[in-house]
């Protein structure tokens, strides 16, 4: 497993940031009350999701406007497409990300 630790204060509400760790690019998103993380790659045409826009818990990819529900990772209009999730735990100001090698 790969692990990455961030500070919650780095993540502004409504923000989406790219982090790179061990050759893997991740996008970390903070909605009003949750932190989400995924591999930073849209499953449609592989645009970096970190270039997209966040509206509540919906992420819109900058490439072609595909929208994803952060709660499920699924594309809203084509649920067959799914983001690759990264496990997130928040403990005080510490955000821990974990994903398989």
């Amino acid at each position: 497993m790969q692990n990455l630790q961030l500070s919650l204060s780095e993540l502004r509400a409504g923000s989406l940031l790219q982090f790179e760790h061990a050759g893997t690019k991740l996008v970390v998103l903070r909605s009003k009350d949750r932190v989400f993380a995924f591999h930073d790659r849209c499953p449609h045409a592989f645009w970096p999701l970190s270039q997209g826009t966040l509206r509540n818990t919906v992420l819109e990819c900058a490439g072609h406007g595909w929208e994803f529900d952060l709660e499920t990772g699924r594309c809203l209009s084509a649920p067959v497409y799914c983001l690759t999730p990264v496990a997130v735990t928040v403990d005080g100001d510490t955000v821990r990300l974990q994903w398989p090698d």
Binding site: P43, A45, F46, P48, E60, H64, L76, A78, V80
Partner: protein, 443 residues
């Protein structure tokens, strides 16, 4: 290099002594009479009859009629070299061979070939299931990129941008039936159209930024409808077909480093001298005024074409049943499971009928008479329009859908992409491979 624009994705690139014609659609009234150019080609003096035949290569991005209608292709010699992308199935190549072309050359996505005289061509294939491709033409350090209406991967676009593009031609408009042919309430539809148009223009900005050409031309995508009963499709609030001037404005508003350039039919871009306007000034005036005038002028031709449409096959119902039973029955369980639809057809006209194709049925009978109460996708269409598809006279189902002469509904209101892929190209092996690859993704 000199590039002359002929509407939609059609460009004629002269590089040294070599002339490469990309995506020629030089007629009007594609897709069962619905599609016209942004400006009728004849208004710029362009007709198929007088169009020069002495090009050296054709590049055809995909099989859509607004990129290569059969009438236009037959204008050119049968032994003219045609470059296409090597797609996962041979359907496009076989279609061209069926039209009589004997010199079709398939290029792998990303493959760069030398055509002579220092001219290089690279073809890039889409990441989507549908067949589509883009082209990069290079000579002496000058580069012309024509995206056609192909959705390339981020990495391909990035790679193209890193090369340094002089002029890029980009898709900027919607070119399909969503959401405009669906039965949404009026206010919902207006909002969906607004969001769709915004999304399309945002995407254009992103792709132009990524490829970063010196000059960016909004080119492929929009349909212009001149049938008086369908003129609402051109409406900025109700339709997804975007005026190229609005695309230019979006690029300017986004402050892209590239120079946005409006090119009308016959306008020329020269890698040395830059833009050279050739189109009549009337093609640069207000769009809605032009459309009303063009619709009036084309009305007799549209009416005549409509009157000449052949009727549906006498055995339409038997053909429909056989067509879908055969195609659905040929799919793997995996693919049928992904599709998992009840596709209903409400057919009007002289041979009306109602049918539902049930992908969840055990087979071999998948087609049932009547509209099942739990249908998931419904298409209401005239018999004569679906007839050539189910009889095999027309190979491309999208030719029907892009006519915009139908209505549809879906339950739930979600894009069933596997169903779309099935209708697009129901090749069992290709579909199975595509979804076997995606099987890590839950349905």
């Amino acid at each position: 290099m000199l590039v002359t624009y002929y509407g939609q994705a059609c460009t004629l690139t002269r590089a040294g002594d070599i002339k490469i014609l990309t995506d020629p659609w030089l007629t009007e009234g594609a897709y069962h009479g619905t599609w016209f150019h942004t400006h009728v080609l004849a208004d710029a003096g362009v007709t198929l009859k007088t169009f020069p035949k002495d090009v050296d290569y054709l590049f055809l991005s995909h099989e859509h009629q607004d990129h290569m209608d059969a009438t236009t292709l037959k204008h050119f010699p049968a032994d003219l070299p045609i470059l296409i992308c090597r797609f996962p199935s041979p359907r496009f190549r076989n279609y061209l061979k069926g039209l009589g072309f004997t010199n079709v050359r398939e290029l792998a996505s990303g493959e760069r070939i030398h055509l002579g005289d220092g001219v290089y061509v690279t073809v890039f294939g889409t990441v989507e299931y549908t067949n589509d491709s883009a082209i990069l033409i290079e000579q002496d350090g000058a580069r012309v990129f024509n995206e056609t209406d192909c959705k390339l991967s981020y990495t391909d676009l990035q790679r193209i941008g890193q090369l340094g593009i002089d002029i890029g031609f980009y898709m900027f408009s919607g070119a399909n039936w969503y959401p405009i042919m669906y039965d949404y309430p009026a206010d919902t539809m207006l909002e969906m159209v607004r969001r769709r148009r915004k999304s399309l223009l945002d995407s254009l900005v992103q792709r132009v930024k990524l490829t970063n050409p010196r000059v960016a031309v909004p080119a492929a995508g929009p349909c212009t409808v001149l049938d008086r009963e369908m003129l609402w499709l051109n409406d900025e609030r109700r339709g997804i077909f975007i005026d190229p001037v609005l695309a230019i404005n979006a690029l300017r508003h986004a402050n892209v480093p590239s120079e946005p350039l409006y090119m009308a039919v016959t306008d020329v871009w020269d890698s040395q001298a830059g833009f050279q306007p050739h189109a009549p000034e009337s093609l640069r005036g207000p769009r809605q005024k032009y459309l009303q005038h063009a619709a009036s002028r084309m009305a007799p031709a549209i009416a005549a074409a409509r009157a000449a449409e052949p009727p549906a096959h006498l055995d339409l119902h038997a053909h429909l049943r056989q067509h879908f039973n055969t195609l659905v029955g040929a799919q793997s369980q995996l693919v049928r499971g992904y599709i998992n639809a009840k596709l209903a057809f409400a057919i009007t006209g002289a041979r009306p009928g109602e049918w539902t194709i049930d992908f969840s049925a055990p087979g071999p009978e998948f087609v049932r008479e009547g509209i099942l109460p739990d249908w998931t996708y419904k298409i209401e269409v005239e018999d004569k329009l679906i007839s050539p598809f189910v009889t095999g006279e027309e190979p491309f189902f999208e030719d029907l859908m892009l006519s915009f002469r139908f209505r549809c509904s879906r339950r739930p209101d979600q894009f069933n992409e596997p169903l779309y892929h099935f209708l697009y190209e129901p090749d069992p092996e290709r579909l199975h491979n595509w979804y076997a690859k995606s099987s890590a993704v839950a349905v």
